[in-house]
Amino acid sequence: EGLAKSGITLEQIEHLHRRFKQISGDQPTLRNLRQAPDGLADEINFEDFLTIMSYFRPVEMNMDEEQLDHFRKEKLKFLFHMYDSDNDGKITLQEYRKVVEELLSRNPHLEKESARSIADGAMMEAASICVGQMEPDQVYEGITFEDFLKMWQGIDIDTKMHVRFLNMEPIAHCH
């Protein structure tokens, strides 16, 4: 039933299973490779793996408005959870900063300060989009999922967030 919900075809499931086995070294679960303390789960099994991958399937032509909307929300929720590492329902400044730092970490010439100020700026922007005018004493706690949706309103996520399961040949083992 879970599989049916996720909407992946049987063939794709097979392929993903093969891939899963390849990555996990034939173990039933994947260990958390990052060893970061704030990961929620230490291991994931194939079902979780499938669920995650199902977020990335492309939009089908025959979806109606409601389905599309639901689809989109699902994808955004996934993204939201990626940012919200402590899973409290909002993306706080700290979490956001962390995200930005990681994003800009590839550039060796940028210091942490820059990442921080950018994160602050982005937070400000988010605040002004989501809440508009705020009272002087009001403090913006964090980006909630509704605000997150608002921010993504103009962007066409359905078409961008997908991975094509066309090529069935597995490539190198990812490290």
């Binding site: 492309p58 993204l79 994003l103 300060e113 820059s114 100020s117 700026g121 400000m124 989009i129 991975v163």
Partner: protein, 794 residues
């Protein structure tokens, strides 16, 4: 492109009329030629200036026409400019002909291919949205190659079939001639597409597909044209299978060769601009010369010149924009747009003029009508079939509406005309028929289809392009998104689009950028940073504009009151204040001659009012008085105004101070000492903003603290004078450890008026982002126009 007639002949044709005129007028010259008997104070030397004069005159006429057209907004909204220009050309041609019964001016292929076409294509390539272009490259290539071949083949064959049936009457023509004609009429024309689509504003994907197709089909057109041209020359009986195979091979050679030439020159150009730090004045020149050379080189090697210059622009974009200084970047942008726009205008006008040439007019109803029918019908069929195939591979499906726009937007233009004019009438006996037909087809597509495409797009509710202000969040999320997608692709074992893009950007960062970009540019060149910086500047500018609008820069929170009041200045403002601020900001020259004496005086006389703060601010923090200013003019150097740098520092410092006075209830107050120290440290240093100063080196510490003025907290009173220690009591958000974000003063008040009225140079040309530095002397009205934000793609 086959045999190009000698230049002299063209020139002669161009200049016949005025020469005739001149001869009538300057009969007196005859005596001058034989030797004056007296000293002539003034003489009429028409022949001397003939050539450049005529050219300049035509350019002037075209530009004046543009002014006239745009006087009537109603007309330009409905009728595309290109159509108006063609009509004007017809009109002018009619006048010339009526006056002299000579058709003297035509659009000669030489002038067209060497001078008029390159700027347009270069402009297209240089400002091409790369991400979008390469994202849809497969689609574009399919349409460009297969689509054009299909169009050419079907049109040629159908016409031949119809000819065989006899409707067209007797013509001295063979299958190969038809195929030749088909190949030159089949190609979608970049000039026409640009001219029409830029007024229509369809969504980006659609535009890039049609436009990309029009650019990339040049290779096919060139090959087909040359192949059939030489086949016709050889004679139909001598064509063998080997020749056909050679033709196919030549397609690959021409296209890939052209691309390769473009890439090589792009590499050269990027490399050169890396070292032009000390010759900033001629930096823009390099861009144009080297790109033009790529065009000519490809032409010389009989490769596809359009492909070469397109890819030169496409590939060098990133590095050149990173390397050259801001002023040069602006210069390049404006010059390119100007040249492209000018060329386009001239092309269309001359298309009209060239049509008024009775010598070439041959009318054959069946041929002309059928050509029109065939090209439209076959285009539709071609598009439908190809889209059907493509939709299996595309994730973003192309719907019926898109297909309609694509079919309808397949405009023919000047390239077809130039190609047909190049035909050798000895080999192609019916050249005149072809020319007439081409003219009619071009006119039809440009005028009729151009006129009707806008209503069609509106009626079909095609998704339009929306220009949105670039948002920092979008950029961030976009970037995170890309990473996530690449990761997922990697996990799932796909070599997907994102994977490839990731690999390319790795390669680019590690190798290419190190070679081609200046060291300073490498460090600071990050899209997110750039957006951040750009938004900061925009905010700052809108702040100043807001200040002007309200009468003074003092919508400050005075230190005494706590409410964010924009103090109501009911007291009459001295006009000097406004005038000087506004004048100051509108000064285009880099020298600021502002008489600060008046403001000094006021400052001394007014205590503890907003005025003091304003003037104090102006004097101390933004503008240095420049009573003794020696302006050095040099043609060879841009003298970096020392004061500019200081101004920028001061400005940044001010901005930061403003941010510090955020009121925060949660944040505990204090470590003023710590703050003081950091301030002193910062003040002591000369900071150079590397983006703003072309020559700048990266400051050794905290460069981006300067950028923190992004927070829309510019509504804020850090304009308090130095003696107000209270600012040091406040904690800037970024030094706090709290999780909460305090919105700025400004975020609480209305978002200020953001100069939204900037007219982009050409509305649709997906324009370049500007990293123009905030040269304080530039006026805010001018500056917004310089902000042509790059469409932020994710």
């Amino acid at each position: 492109r086959g045999a190009i007639p000698a230049r002299g002949k063209d020139r002669g044709r161009l200049l016949v009329l005025p020469a005739a005129l001149a001869q009538e007028k300057s009969s007196g010259d005859h005596t001058a030629v034989s030797g004056p008997h007296f000293f002539q104070i003034v003489s009429f030397k028409w022949h001397h200036v003939q050539e450049p004069y005529i050219i300049a005159l035509w350019i002037l006429v075209a530009s004046l026409a543009k002014i006239v057209f745009h006087l009537s907004h109603k007309v330009t909204r409905v009728v595309p400019e290109s159509a108006l220009l063609i009509v004007l050309g017809l009109f002018l041609g009619g006048i010339v002909w009526a006056a002299d019964h000579i058709a003297s001016f035509t659009l000669t292929p030489n002038v067209f291919f060497f001078y008029l076409l390159p700027p347009i294509v270069l402009d297209a390539g240089y400002f091409m949205p790369n991400k979008l272009f390469f994202g849809n490259l497969g689609t574009i290539l399919l349409y460009a190659v297969i689509g054009t071949v299909w169009n050419a083949a079907t049109t040629g064959m159908s016409l031949y079939g119809v000819y065989l049936s006899g409707i067209m009457g007797q013509l001295d023509i063979g299958l190969l001639d038809f195929l030749l004609f088909g190949s030159l009429i089949a190609a979608v024309d970049p000039v026409a597409v640009l001219a029409v689509f830029e007024e229509v504003h369809v969504n980006e994907v659609l535009f890039i597909i049609v436009f990309g197709e029009s650019l990339l089909n040049d290779a096919v057109t060139v090959v087909l044209y040359n192949v059939f041209d030489s086949f016709v020359a050889m004679g139909a009986d001598n064509v063998t299978g080997v020749d056909c195979v050679k033709g196919i091979v030549s397609f690959f050679v021409v296209s890939l060769g052209g691309t390769f030439v473009g890439i090589v020159f792009a590499f050269l150009l990027s490399l050169v601009t890396r070292f032009t730090k000390h010759v900033r004045i001629i930096e823009p020149g390099f861009v144009f010369v080297i790109s033009y050379l790529s065009y000519l080189t490809a032409e010389m090697l009989s490769l596809s010149a359009i492909l070469a210059i397109t890819f030169c622009g496409v590939c060098c974009q990133k590095y050149v924009k990173a390397n050259i200084c801001d002023q040069s970047s602006t210069t390049v942008r404006y010059t390119m747009k100007m040249l492209a726009s000018g060329s386009e205008t001239i092309i269309f006008m001359f298309l009209g003029i060239s049509a008024v040439n009775p010598d070439i007019w041959t009318w054959n109803t069946a041929f002309i009508l059928l050509t029109l029918v065939f090209i439209s019908v076959y285009r539709v069929i071609g598009v439908v079939i190809q889209t059907w195939v493509l939709n299996h591979y595309r994730v973003v499906q192309l719907e019926i509406i898109d297909q309609v726009v694509m079919s309808y937007g397949g405009l023919r233009g000047a390239v077809a005309f130039a190609l047909v004019a190049l035909l050798d009438e000895k080999k192609v006996k019916e050249k005149n028929l072809f020319v007439s037909t081409t003219i009619i087809v071009v006119f039809f597509t440009v005028i009729f289809q151009g006129l009707t495409i806008k209503p069609l797009v509106q009626w079909l509710k095609v998704k339009r392009s929306e220009h949105r202000e670039p948002k920092l969040n979008e950029k961030l999320h976009g970037r995170a998104f890309d990473h996530i997608l690449s990761a997922v692709e990697d996990i799932s074992g796909q070599i997907g689009h994102n994977y490839l893009r990731d690999k390319w950007s790795n390669f680019d960062r590690k190798i290419l950028s190190k070679v081609l970009m200046r060291r300073s540019a490498q460090k600071s060149r990050d899209q997110i940073l750039n957006i951040f910086h750009e938004l900061n500047l925009k905010d700052a500018i809108s702040y100043v504009a807001e200040g002007e609008r309200r009468g003074s820069l003092a919508f400050i929170r005075s230190s005494s009151t706590d409410n964010m009041v924009n103090v109501d200045f009911s007291t009459p403002r001295p006009s000097t204040v406004e005038a000087s601020v506004s004048c100051l900001l509108r000064e285009k020259a880099s020298s600021v001659c502002l008489d600060m004496q008046a403001l000094e005086q006021r400052r001394k006389s007014i205590r503890d009012t907003e005025d003091t703060v304003t003037h104090h601010t102006l004097q101390q923090y933004l503008y240095k008085p420049r009573q003794e200013h020696i302006h050095l003019y040099s043609r060879h150097e841009i003298i970096q105004n020392e004061d500019e740098k200081q101004d920028k520092e001061i400005f940044h410092r001010t901005m930061r101070k403003r941010l510090e006075s955020f009121k925060s209830t949660k944040l505990g107050i204090n470590q003023p000492k710590k703050l003081n120290k950091s301030h002193k440290r910062d003040r002591g240093q000369k900071r150079r903003n590397s983006n703003a100063i072309p020559n700048g080196k990266i400051p050794s510490e905290n460069p981006v603290q300067d950028f923190t003025l992004k927070e829309k907290g510019i509504d804020n009173p850090a304009f308090s004078a130095d003696d107000d220690q209270s600012i040091y009591m406040k904690f800037p958000p970024w030094l706090s450890d709290e999780d909460s974000v305090v919105p700025s003063q400004r975020a609480r008040v209305q978002l200020p008026y953001s100069p939204d009225n900037f007219r982009r140079l050409t509305p649709f040309r997906l324009s370049n982002k500007s990293v123009d530095s905030f040269l304080l002397a530039d006026g805010p009205e001018e500056r917004p126009r310089a902000f042509l934000p790059e469409t932020t793609h994710m």
